[in-house]
């Protein structure tokens, strides 16, 4: 009697977890940092808060040097639609607002606010909110002041992910607790120690999203965390799904595939098919924000690797790296540098001076023994191990070939932009080819080229638009002159009557005809409309409509003088207004009319020169990392430097691109 039911449930259980292609299983190295509970740090001497800790617009600083701030006080408020606020992690005095080195692969300094703690850790007045019953829209809107971003490492502002866009309803919330990268254990420890808060956080997110179903995906190498979570969720309808340990199962799309068996189309976001993904630590931050009125001030960081006592710590944002390192007993003597993130996708921290930020899930002390230097790259032997390992089912060996040959079109044909840069391909490459670096390089080049093309198109468009406007102004001026002359003449005509009205009429008609011909011959209808962005098109259309409404492009002959005069006056006023507006928009158009053709040629030449410059610059600086021994045997250092530069460039460009994308979505 029971047997068939058991078999059915067994079958269901095996069907519960799906799989994705490829993936790798590097040594986990997680045990080291899970021996001790989550530790806390003493207040550091200073806290350096980079303004750029998230994806999106830099927040606007609301304090001045010398200000005294309380713990939890807003230091910088979210600016624009995709942005996150920053708060004082403790009470103290604002010491500086200037450029300081931030944890970014480029190693470039960026705007930071430095706080000198007073040691009192005095809280600002907190405002808990009733997240169980409160108005959902109000709750979501209030998150703009929370400073919460995705704590899995993506640092996308959480408020944006919860905001209703009216396009799609979220039916399933996936909680990402896979933590697939080796060494990182911050989510593991969080689940072991604060699973009650996680469950409450999930309930917060579930209510805000209106999601009916919640699935938590955890890799099977965290038995303690799984048990803890199963116990904590026993009385809820939250599903815990244990996925096999296979990097990169923690990638959003891979995790959705694993736990739901749903492949998110490459050109869609998960939210568009009703699925939202949150990291476990993020939902805890949500819960604490609503329940206690605490903004995002700290996170759990795994401090591990070549360190005396690897451990997870609750670290205030802005804490200097060395403060954390020292808390873990200090780095061992042969430590060469520190890595932020995991060994698969992390990056070298440019200095030990950098602060811990919202993205810092893990700091690994690196040493040559821990991460052996790579032997020189050999040529690709097309063994296709990379293709077997690729979780996106790309053909890394082909992409490598295309990236190396600067054959970007082909690279895009082979879906370069679907690459998630997980590094699985490099991990299994017998030839030690830095494949991910090649893809980053190709991506950044393509983005840069697209941008250059866009800029050139925009410049051309603008120029054409300007020419059209100048033509129109000329036309209007001619009409004005004619009208004035006519006005004077008509007065005279009373006396002399020697200039026939028909002549006047003819002159005006001729002027109009001329103007029309010029208009037809000129640039009113640009040839490249196909390349104009929809926005610009809409603008042009709007202007055309306005003009039509105003009768400017009206073909009817002007009959009465009064009507004429009124229209001319209107045209003048319009022209003036437009000129003023255009002058604001396009500073270049301030040149006098007589210089026009020369100026145009000059401008075109300038644009051409700029494009050429950009091209040569690119050729000179951005050659791909020719790194295999076959093409460049000795220049290892040079190679590495180039690769590093490419990475930095790629990251910076990626960020810029993302920002642009956000901007776009905002405007949409």
């Amino acid at each position: 009697m029971n047997a068939p039911i058991n078999i059915a449930s067994l079958f269901k259980k095996t069907k519960d977890i799906f799989s994705f292609h490829g993936g790798v299983h590097p040594p986990e190295n997680k045990a080291q940092s899970t021996r001790l509970p989550i530790g806390s740090l003493a207040l550091p001497e200073k806290l350096v808060l980079p303004l750029r800790q998230h994806i999106g617009t830099i927040p606007k600083v609301k304090v001045a040097v010398g200000d005294y701030v309380l713990k939890g006080q807003l230091i910088a408020e979210a600016e624009g639609s995709v942005s996150a606020a920053i708060h004082a992690p403790t009470s103290g005095t604002i010491k500086a607002i200037d450029n300081a080195i931030i944890p970014h692969p480029s190693g470039l300094p960026d705007q930071c606010v430095t706080i000198s703690p007073d040691g009192k850790d005095t809280w600002i007045e907190r405002h808990p909110q009733d997240w169980k019953n409160g108005d959902i829209n109000k709750l979501i809107a209030s998150l703009r002041l929370s400073g919460i971003v995705g704590l899995g490492g993506a640092t996308f502002p959480t408020q944006v992910k919860l905001r209703k866009n009216g396009k799609s309803e979220i039916h399933t919330l996936v909680i990402n607790a896979a933590e697939c990268e080796p060494y990182i254990t911050c989510d593991d420890m969080l689940m072991r120690e604060r699973n009650d808060q996680i469950v409450l956080g999930i309930q917060v997110a579930q209510r805000l999203l209106g999601a009916a179903k919640v699935v938590v995906g955890i890799e099977d190498n965290k038995p303690e965390a799984i048990e803890a979570m199963q116990t904590a969720t026993a009385n809820s309808d939250i599903q815990i799904k244990v996925v096999p340990t296979l990097y990169p199962s923690g990638d959003g799309r891979r995790l959705i595939q694993l736990v739901l068996g749903k492949e998110i189309p490459h050109d869609k976001r998960a939210t568009e098919v009703g699925i939202q993904v949150f990291n476990v630590a993020t939902v805890v931050a949500l819960y604490r924000y609503f329940e206690f009125g605490e903004p995002s001030l700290s996170r759990i960081v795994s401090m591990t690797g070549n360190i005396v006592q690897p451990q997870n710590f609750e670290v205030l944002f802005g804490t200097p790296l060395m403060h954390l390192v020292n808390a873990a007993g200090g780095a061992k003597p042969d430590t060469s540098h520190f890595i932020m993130g995991g060994p698969m996708m992390g990056f070298n921290l440019p200095s030990t001076e950098v602060p811990i930020t919202k993205a810092a899930n893990c700091i690994i002390a690196a040493s040559p023994t821990l991460f052996a230097p790579q032997p020189p790259a050999m040529p690709c032997i097309r063994c296709a191990r990379c293709a077997d390992a690729c979780p996106v089912s790309l053909q890394p060996q082909e992409l490598y070939w295309f990236a190396k040959a600067d054959n970007f079109e082909k690279a895009q044909d082979y879906n370069l932009f679907d690459c998630i840069e997980c590094g699985a391909c490099s991990y299994v490459c017998p030839s030690n080819i830095p494949l991910v670096q090649y893809y980053r390089y190709a991506k950044s080049e393509i983005i840069a080229l697209d941008k250059a093309k866009e800029a050139a198109n925009l410049a051309r468009e603008r120029n054409e638009f300007r020419l059209a406007r100048i033509e129109r102004e000329k036309e209007e001026r001619a009409a004005k002159h004619a009208a004035r002359a006519q006005g004077a003449k008509s007065a005279k005509a009373e006396e002399n009557n020697n200039v026939p009205a028909s002549d006047k009429q003819a002159a005006i008609a001729a002027a109009i005809e001329r103007a029309k011909a010029q208009k037809a011959a000129g640039n009113v209808a640009p040839k490249n409309t196909s390349e104009i962005s929809p926005q610009t098109k809409a603008e042009i259309e709007a202007i055309d409509k306005r003009r039509k409404k105003a009768g400017l492009s009206d073909d009817k002959p002007l009959t009465t003088d009064a009507e004429k005069q009124a229209k001319i006056d209107a045209a003048i006023a319009r022209a003036k207004a437009q000129k003023a507006a255009a002058g604001k928009a396009d500073a270049n158009s301030a040149e006098p009319e007589s210089k026009q053709p020369v100026a145009d040629a000059e401008k075109q030449a300038k644009i051409d020169a700029a494009i050429k410059r950009a091209k040569t610059l690119k050729a000179a600086t951005a050659k791909p990392p020719t790194s295999d021994v076959n093409s460049k045997p000795v220049a290892d250092a040079e190679k590495q430097a180039k690769i590093d530069a490419a990475i930095a460039r790629a990251k910076a460009q990626k960020e810029a691109a993302l920002k642009a994308k956000e901007q776009q979505t905002k405007e949409d």
């Binding site: 040594p27 998110i264 050999m378 032997i381 296709a384 293709a387 017998p430």
Partner: protein, 339 residues
């Protein structure tokens, strides 16, 4: 290491190639046991030639010599060519073939990773076309030969082409079954008569059928070590078996059975060691199936209808040409994309 991923878990190219050499050893051992030690001399000559020409070319091309010699790819080419040509051929034959394979077919295309054709097969094709008589003069298995040459006698023969006083060339050589089959069928002999000739063994060619089994063993080792995937050997052997099976079922008096085709010529050497060359082969799983099936079909057609006793080299070279096309049309579905 100062860029992510900071960790790696991959055998080096040299490591992979070394395992391929290792996997060839059982086949070579059985070969020497069945046909005498001459093959060891040929392999040695081929190895010396390959290493020398590879080093020379790397020097001329101003490339680092040590890392590329240590990848063992030149030695694989040398061994495969040595195993593909008659083992008692004069010493200069293997030297010329190997030198051509390394210099022209490999290094002039850019060395490891850049050669569009399987260098060993290019070397083989060049020798077969240039010296057809020498390339088809196969020694009989020792168990069949009227006179058994000692290792020293074989060594002497390879370098001087002189036999011991009382031994004639006919006493040590014999037609290969593939060749014999073709000529006898033209003479209207029945299949059963032909196959009762002593050169036919239980499975295929007497003597070399054991070598084939040893290659199979080595191939399984490569598969177990994840150096090769099942796609290429399986598709190749299955195609040979299927196509020869169909012809055999249609007319058993005119066409040899599938087992004979599998265990004759260089079928197993090709299945696990020649067509599995990653550089000149396709990379996609489906592409591998098409590639290997293509080689199987062409091999069979050349064996049965072509002018050469065995057609693997030409089949491989022809399918090498098709690799870019095959790869382009067999791209797997990318995650989140429709096929």
């Amino acid at each position: 290491m100062d860029r992510s991923p900071y960790i790696a878990n991959a055998p080096s190219v040299g490591n992979i190639m070394f395992k391929v050499l290792l996997a060839l050893i059982p086949g070579i051992a059985v070969y020497a046991w069945q046909f005498g030690g001459g093959v060891l001399i040929t392999i040695t000559l081929a190895t010396i030639t390959a290493v020398t020409t590879e080093a020379l070319m790397l020097k001329l091309r101003r490339r680092p010599i040590a890392p590329f010699l240590m990848d063992y790819s030149a030695i694989i080419t040398a061994w495969l060519l040595a195993l593909a040509i008659p083992p008692l051929a004069p010493w200069w034959l293997i030297v010329v073939g190997t030198a051509f394979a390394i210099i022209i077919a490999k290094q002039l295309y850019g060395g490891l990773g850049y050669n569009p054709f399987n260098p060993a097969m290019i070397g083989y094709a060049v020798l077969l076309i240039s010296f057809p008589a020498l390339m088809t003069k196969w020694p009989a298995a020792l168990s069949l030969a009227e006179a058994k040459l000692s290792f020293l006698a074989q060594l002497h023969y390879i370098f001087n082409q002189t036999l011991p006083a009382n031994v004639t060339l006919d006493a040590i050589t014999s037609a290969t079954p593939l060749d014999y089959l073709k000529t006898q069928l033209k003479l209207q002999q029945s299949m059963s008569t032909i196959q009762s000739a002593p050169i036919f063994g239980a499975l295929g060619t007497r003597g070399s059928e054991y070598v084939s089994l040893a290659y199979l063993f080595g191939g399984l080792y490569l598969w177990q070590q994840r150096i090769i995937t099942w796609h290429l050997p399986f598709a190749f052997l299955a195609t040979i078996a299927a196509i020869s099976g169909v012809f055999w079922l249609i007319d058993p008096s005119q066409f040899a059975n599938p087992v004979f085709h599998l265990f004759s010529g260089a079928t197993f050497l090709a299945a696990f060691f020649i067509i599995t060359d990653p550089v000149s082969g396709p990379t996609t799983p489906n592409g591998k199936l098409y590639f290997a099936a293509g080689i199987g079909i062409i091999t069979y057609l050349i064996r049965v209808y072509g002018g050469y006793p065995d057609g693997i080299a030409f089949a491989v070279i022809f399918m090498n040409i098709c690799v870019p096309l095959i790869d382009a049309y067999t791209q797997p579905r990318v995650f989140g994309h429709q096929k």
